[in-house]
Amino acid sequence: MKLLQLPPGELRRQLADQGIWLGTGPFSLRVRSRIDSVAEGLGELYGQFEVRNPHETFADFHVSVDPQTTLREGLRPKANFSFDGIKPFEPLPLDQAYPLLERGLDWCVSEHAHQYLMIRAAVVEKNDQAVILPALPDSGKSTLVAALVLSGWRLLSDELTLIDRKSGWIHPLPRPIRLKNESIPLIRAFHGDAFFSGVSRSSADDSIAYMRPPKESVRRQHEPAKPRWIIFPKWVSDGELEVLPRSKQETYQSLTQHAFNYSQLGTEGFRVCSALIKQTDSYDFQYSRLEEAVAIFDRLAVSSVPTKLGN
């Protein structure tokens, strides 16, 4: 059954009580929370995902976000994320409970799922060819990804590129896309149908909203995709569209820096990374306007001779 089939009151009750079992990509979660905004966030963003009765099931990650009152903080409760009793983060103000859950889920995967080479990168797919977009701070990666998936690209992930170590293919984990500040109105204007969660403020005083993953991407969340390009996007406020090939060596270096578990995999990390570089072309990509950027990506998806790109 899909999460949207649970009435909101029932979702809140189950979350607060025994928790819900939720399938996301290759992972299953058991989520518990007594915080209403967490129930709301999940209800708004995960409607298309599968839920089950948690009894007699196996879940990869048992997580909770609950209010915690500490003496040091006075009596104002904070939200604390727990992975089965392990608390990897400092508690955050209660209104950041939902973003804390999303961050916690990323943490669970990136700390444990060593059956993949995990890269801190978004990944989208069209015509059976996936584009990996490694995240640099303020590169506008998530904004570009949101625009692409609202233009017919399939969302594999906004944050975690999971490369199967055996096949070299990418496993989808199409969870919500996290957008910041000006990106939120920008994407709203880009596509009227985009659905966002309520806006919250981060500790760095940014506005944060999550965009619901497209239904089609969630429906196909168990279909891996073949990596074809690695593109390092960079948004500039006012500049020329630019697509420059990037050397394999440089790409390799960036990938190892962006990988969560490159060193944990030892020689295997080297092998998977090399295989990935061998079967992909990579570019540095600079853009100012989303429409133009999407048009370039669409040309990329139909071109089989990528070197002509940008001419």
Binding site: E56, T57, F58, H112, H114, G266
Partner: protein
């Protein structure tokens, strides 16, 4: 009250039982195994018993990922030990490797699925300074500590504070004794060093003798105040014992050495709980012999209550109402063993009421 169900040691004792596991059992096994740091070792056990195909597909990656990590860890550890030896080549005495790093270097069964956090070295007390400065030249540095802790280490601890590598995420603990000098059981570390033998492939690094490895592990386990890896450490002991037991005259040698080192009590407990959790085979004569080291019946009952809880995985599903007092009791008991009350009371007061409110120091 529902009795806690501890599945990790259950599977070690009865690997075949996994064939009858429900999904809820697998869920619990993976969670407890992760908390006990024993997922990779469980995996190794199931592979050895040709039972790994009975792990359901949804749970399998947890075991495989843990094995991947353990293998990488061990490979890195071997490389680090070679580098370490190269940087200490100027020293004219051998360094004794202890615990996990030793098991890995010597490729003992106790290294199976073992994650190794640190390198533990046993160094003669009078040579500590030499080793430390050699390490400093090889880019190892002392971890910054608050002034109180620094003085505490210098005066009472059996190891020097940790040294970390400037670039690699590695930690070395330098020990000059097995337990604190003021402790009740005070095995002579030089006796241990004398019987250590060189590890093949790691010239200059040595390994304690079979009996000493076991006595050392047993002593540490029952002086450990947190027991954060209690079941994993006990599992190491189980594997050390099973390996050594295949040698002729092992048990008489172990008993004689325990008597000589005055470590019969820790050995008694180690064998008792290894049998309890891992069904470690221990001959009846050995148990008879150690009866003289047994505490009184009331004490033993209390110890059982404490250690069967403390050694279980630190996961909610293994805890009951008596787990918190057991934890407090272990903390007090181990400190009691380490030092007389005149020193103990001020230390605990400081740790409970003063240090939590002090600011973190900058690394030295």
């Amino acid at each position: 009250m529902r009795a806690p169900v501890e599945l990790v040691s259950h599977v070690f004792r009865n690997p075949e039982s996994i064939r009858g596991f429900s999904m809820a059992d697998w869920d619990k096994l993976v969670r407890q195994g992760r908390h006990a740091n024993l997922l990779a070792r469980l995996h190794a056990l199931l592979i050895q018993a040709r039972l790994d195909t009975a792990i359901p597909a949804v749970a399998r990656w947890h075991f495989e990922a843990a094995t991947t990590l353990a293998e990488t860890h061990q490979g890195e550890m071997r490389r680090e030990l070679r580098r370490l030896r190269a940087s200490l080549v100027g020293l004219d005495f051998p360094l004794v490797l202890l615990k996990g790093a030793a098991y890995v270097a010597a490729d003992l069964p106790a290294s199976k699925g073992r994650l190794i956090e640190d390198i533990d070295l046993l160094v003669p007390a009078e040579r500590l300074g030499e080793v430390e400065s050699a390490l400093r030249h090889a880019d190892w540095q002392r971890v910054g500590l608050p002034e109180y802790d620094r003085r505490y280490y210098r005066r009472w601890r059996y190891d020097a504070p940790q040294m970390t590598h400037l670039r690699r995420a590695m930690v070395i603990n330098l020990h000059h004794a097995i337990v604190p000098d003021c402790a009740r059981y005070r095995p002579d570390a030089s006796k241990l060093r004398r019987r250590a033998t060189e590890i093949p492939g790691f010239a200059g690094l040595t390994l304690l003798s079979g009996e000493d490895r076991i006595l050392h592990a047993a002593t540490l386990l029952f002086h450990d105040d947190g027991l954060s890896h209690g079941l994993r450490d006990l599992s190491d002991l189980d594997l050390l014992l099973r390996q050594a037991a295949s040698e002729t005259d092992f048990w008489p040698r172990l008993l004689a050495r325990a008597e000589e080192m005055e470590l019969e009590r820790p050995l008694f407990y180690a064998l008792r709980y290894a049998r309890h959790f891992f069904a470690t085979p221990v001959p009846d004569e050995v148990r008879d012999h150690l009866r003289s080291a047994e505490p009184g019946r009331a004490t033993l009952k209390l110890m059982d209550g404490i250690y069967t809880r403390m050694l279980a995985p630190a996961h909610r599903s293994c805890m009951d109402a008596f787990t918190p007092p057991a934890r407090a009791a272990t903390y007090l008991r181990t400190h009691w063993l380490r030092r007389p009350p005149r020193q103990l009371v001020p230390h605990l007061v400081y740790k409970a009421f003063i240090s939590p409110y002090q600011r973190e120091p900058n690394p030295a």
